[in-house]
């Protein structure tokens, strides 16, 4: 009796494989250990050896992808059996159109009753949680579900995840190769919001004269002052955040050094009267691997107290999260705040890339408690890493340093913000 030769399951997460190449020819006599075919999975190409002895009869042509455990060939015991196998195929071919008709996707086995059963048993053996429908669509569309994140109950991959992945081009079968030693996890198209950020960052770094400086400010007193505001959360209808105080301090420092709040327009340096604060916000990305970046603007922060700044800022963040920002929300910034406080490790300082055409971007980061010397004594204070990048085409080191110093003083002695 001829034995079925099936697509082997070569890895835990393997649900299907492509017959990349038949290494033995139709009718060849093979012994265990002889190489039969090359199987391509999404990750690796394997050379597979014959499990039994016999004459090879090929069922699935090269390039075709089938679920694991699907017969791809047969091993005949003798030449007579081989002949009758070969004839069987011809007679089967005669009624093939009827069966093949439902398959809309070339290269995928027609979804006959048998194929469906094979597929669903494979599915329950795999470790990836996905609904049967999601698996079916993914298989038909040539999508690797191992690369997707599920949003169904318990993280199950469901139809909407597949449709989203198809739309975004995530999880397409990457050309599998073991040669380079690198295995692709995902391909993210450089399009949409991601492409915008990429080109703006490049443009910023290539077309301006950026210079970054860093320092540390003692925010112990500011933190203490903030507790009075937090305690009045009900009254202010917001729990005023550190960012609001930092923005207020920046405004105070701009009053001292107006050229900070400026932009280069053609041949002119334009210094602005009002302060429109761009706020760099990180949002979930279009795929599970990246994040997206937006810089909406709080207008006229120079006319606001910390409470109002905080409320405006939170409303803006909320709208950004809900995807409700319009083009007008991103316009007209005169300076930008890019805080990594809470995100970055304590003490780390950044050198943010300028948000053109702004002359300055300020980048506070995660504070930490440190021993410092005060009046000759070592005391523990909360120190916040600060940084600022400025465009040397617009301002020189002297005004930049003066701004940083006053900003530093406002953070250390918050009463100066009253000035």
């Amino acid at each position: 009796m001829a034995k079925d030769y099936v697509m082997p399951k070569l890895a835990m997460a393997m649900n299907e494989g492509t017959v990349a190449q038949w290494m033995a020819a139709e009718g060849d006599f093979l012994r265990p250990g002889d190489v039969v075919m090359a199987v391509e999975t999404e990750k690796v190409t394997y050379e597979v050896e014959a499990p039994h002895e016999g004459y090879l009869h090929i069922l699935v042509p090269e390039g075709e992808t089938v679920p694991v455990e699907t017969p791809v060939g047969k091993f005949a015991e003798n030449e007579d059996e081989l002949k009758s196998l070969q004839q069987e195929v011809q007679s089967q071919d005669a009624d093939k159109p009827v069966e093949a008709a439902p398959s809309a996707v070339p290269g995928v086995a027609a979804p006959t009753g048998t194929d469906l059963r094979t597929a669903s048993s494979t599915a329950s053996g795999g470790r990836i949680k996905a609904s049967p429908l999601a698996r079916k669509i993914a298989r038909d569309k040539g999508l690797d579900i191992a690369l997707l994140q599920g949003t169904g109950p318990g993280g199950r991959i469901v139809k909407r995840d597949i449709l989203l992945a198809l739309e975004q081009g995530i999880g397409r079968f990457a050309a599998a190769t073991a040669v380079g030693g690198m295995r692709e996890k995902a391909r993210l198209p450089l399009s949409g919001a991601r492409a915008t950020v990429a080109s703006r960052m490049m443009e910023s770094l290539q077309s301006s004269a950026q210079l970054a400086s860093r320092w540390e400010s003692d925010i112990t007193d500011l933190l203490r002052m903030r507790t009075h505001f937090v305690a009045r959360e009900e009254q202010f209808r917001t729990s005023v955040s550190m960012n609001a105080f930092i923005i207020r301090a920046i405004v105070s420092a701009i009053r001292q050094v107006p050229i900070i709040n400026a932009a280069l327009q053609g041949e002119d340096i334009v210094i602005y009267e009002n302060v429109n604060m761009g706020l760099a916000i990180s949002l979930p990305g279009e795929s599970p691997w990246d994040s997206s970046l937006m810089v909406p603007v709080i207008r006229d922060v120079d006319s606001m107290g910390v409470v109002e700044i905080d409320r405006e800022m939170k409303a803006l963040v909320e709208r950004a999260r809900n995807g409700q920002l319009g083009p007008d929300d991103m316009k007209d910034s005169t300076i930008t705040l890019s805080s990594t406080a809470g995100l970055a490790p304590p003490g780390m300082s950044t050198s943010p890339v300028l948000n053109l055409p702004n002359a300055v971007i300020v980048g506070p980061s995660t504070p930490q408690e440190k021993p410092v010397s005060r009046n000759g004594e070592i005391v523990v204070r909360t120190m916040m890493p600060m940084s600022m990048t400025f465009d040397h085409r617009i301002l020189n080191g002297e005004p930049a340093a003066r701004f940083m110093k006053y900003l530093h003083e406002c953070l250390e002695h918050p009463e100066l913000m009253l000035a």
Binding site: P102, L116, R117, P132, L133, K136
Partner: protein, 473 residues
């Protein structure tokens, strides 16, 4: 400052205040408490809303008793004779009220157990986060969830007097059977009462303007119910509209008009007018604080049942989603989970995942695409219909009429819609709905072993019919 202080003393402060204790509101209240929110539910009447007091529950009690009464005929077949003339309908109705009382106090108990405040009174939104009650008391809440439900739609010329011309409330309160009843409107409520009244021996005429009864259900399934109704003696007039009505001393005369424009005169002791429902969105202060209503008075909602005004949510019969108790409850859960800072699995009720259910005998239940819709939209689908009589159980219990019908996507196998009519259809539908919501393929259900003999075997066989052949056909 002083006024702020006074306010604090005079009012209760909640994370969420729910207006209306129907299946939308009370479920929301309990869910809120489960998620650690301080919640109250304000109700002007009895807890449980229309569903529990004047809808789902009392009607199902009547249907159950009608079934029992009807099945006495079967007993006669084995020699048991019961004097059916002794039927006391007042007691039948009384039992339905007992059921509502028990469940209504059960709801109150659940709210108490979960520490959800049940506030008695008529509520009105007085401002953002502020509700005033008819007794002058005020309630402050970060979020307000409006779940005030709906009432019977009254059409000029057919005003309810609840004696001769009844709304669904009126017929549920009725304690004596009329000799004859004319039902205007063959939606779920009309069909259920047609069944009940016919079973108790009332002469029933059922009138529907659309081409068939239950116009939004799958026609092939409805046809089974339609035939059954006619077989038991209900006069079914479809494609027929009510033109005018005249109240006589002890009867009502209604002029109908069939699709050809020909008048039909029908006289009946009582008329049940079930044309539809209207949302209770007046006198709630909604418009005053800027909540948008559509031209029919419904509150359109966005994701997580939010209205256009932040902090105000709307669920249940006052929104344009299907007016069903289970929709109201699910919307309540979604809104509350969102308020509590969770991300609910769904942003709202997905229409194709909502089961509809009609509890007459035979029952009818369905969800998703109907065949006529699939054709209109040009969807490429496969269809399989399995007659209930092919499942041995239906013959054994003497309920052979009915069918299970499934529609799937021709290419992906996705379950697009399912329609079951027959004994216990409202229970049978859930296996199919689970299949849809969990994205199972026909083979998953077709290959699953179903106990024999059950009516569920019909569901399995219908699924087999999609990609292969049912065994018992």
């Amino acid at each position: 400052m002083a006024s702020l202080l006074e306010n604090n003393l005079m009012t209760d402060q909640y994370d969420v205040a729910v207006i209306g204790a129907g299946p939308g509101g009370y479920v929301a209240g309990i869910r809120a408490a489960q998620l650690g929110l301080k919640a109250c539910v304000i109700e002007k009447d009895k807890p449980g809303g229309v569903c529990l007091n004047w809808g789902c529950i009392p009607s199902k009690s009547l249907i159950h008793q009608a079934e029992l009464f009807h099945s006495l005929r079967e007993m006669e077949g084995v020699g048991v004779t019961v004097d059916r003339t002794k039927l006391n309908y007042k007691k039948v109705q009384g039992k339905s009220r007992d059921a509502t009382k028990a469940l209504s106090s059960g709801v109150a108990g659940l709210l108490r157990k979960n520490k959800v405040g049940l506030v008695k009174g008529t509520a009105k939104i007085a401002g953002k986060g502020l509700i005033s009650l008819d007794d002058g008391k005020q309630i402050k809440a970060r979020n307000i969830l409006v779940a005030t439900g709906s009432r019977a739609l009254q059409i000029p010329g057919f005003e309810f007097d609840e004696k001769q011309v009844l709304s669904s409330d009126g017929i549920l309160a009725m304690t004596e059977l009329p000799k004859s009843l004319l039902i205007l409107g063959a939606g779920a409520i009309g069909c259920e009462f047609a069944y009940v009244m016919n079973a108790f021996g009332v002469e029933v005429t059922l009138v529907e303007m659309a081409e068939h009864i239950l116009p939004w259900e799958d026609y092939e399934a409805v046809a089974v119910l339609d035939k059954s109704f006619r077989d038991v003696g209900i006069q079914v007039l479809t494609g027929t509209r009510a033109k005018q009505m005249q109240r006589l001393d002890d009867s009502v005369q209604v002029t109908l008009e069939d699709s050809s424009g020909a008048p039909i005169e029908v006289t009946a002791e009582k008329v049940l007018a079930v044309f539809g429902r209207v949302p209770n969105t007046e006198n709630l202060g909604l418009r005053e604080i800027g909540v948008k209503l559509d031209e029919r008075g419904y509150v359109p909602v966005g994701d997580y049942c939010q209205t256009n005004i932040p902090g105000i949510f709307a669920i249940g019969d006052i929104t344009p989603t299907p007016a069903l108790a289970h929709v109201a409850s699910k919307e309540g859960e979604i809104a509350i989970e969102y308020m509590a800072g969770h991300t609910p699995m769904y942003k709202g009720v997905e229409p194709e995942l909502v089961p509809s259910a009609i509890y007459s005998e035979p029952q009818l239940a369905g969800f998703g695409l109907r065949e006529d819709q699939a054709k209109d939209k040009g969807v490429k689908f496969k269809k399989s219909v399995f007659p209930l009589r092919g499942a041995g159980k239906s013959i054994a219990v003497g309920k052979p009429e009915g069918l299970a019908k499934v529609l799937t996507d021709r290419d992906t196998g996705e379950l697009l819609g399912a329609h079951v009519v027959g004994h216990n259809a409202t229970e049978l539908i859930h296996e199919l709905l689970l299949g849809k919501s969990s994205e199972l393929l026909p083979a998953d259900i077709a290959e699953m072993i179903h106990a024999h003999p059950t009516l569920s075997e019909a569901v399995m066989e219908a699924m087999r019919g999609i990609d292969g052949k049912p065994i018992h056909m």
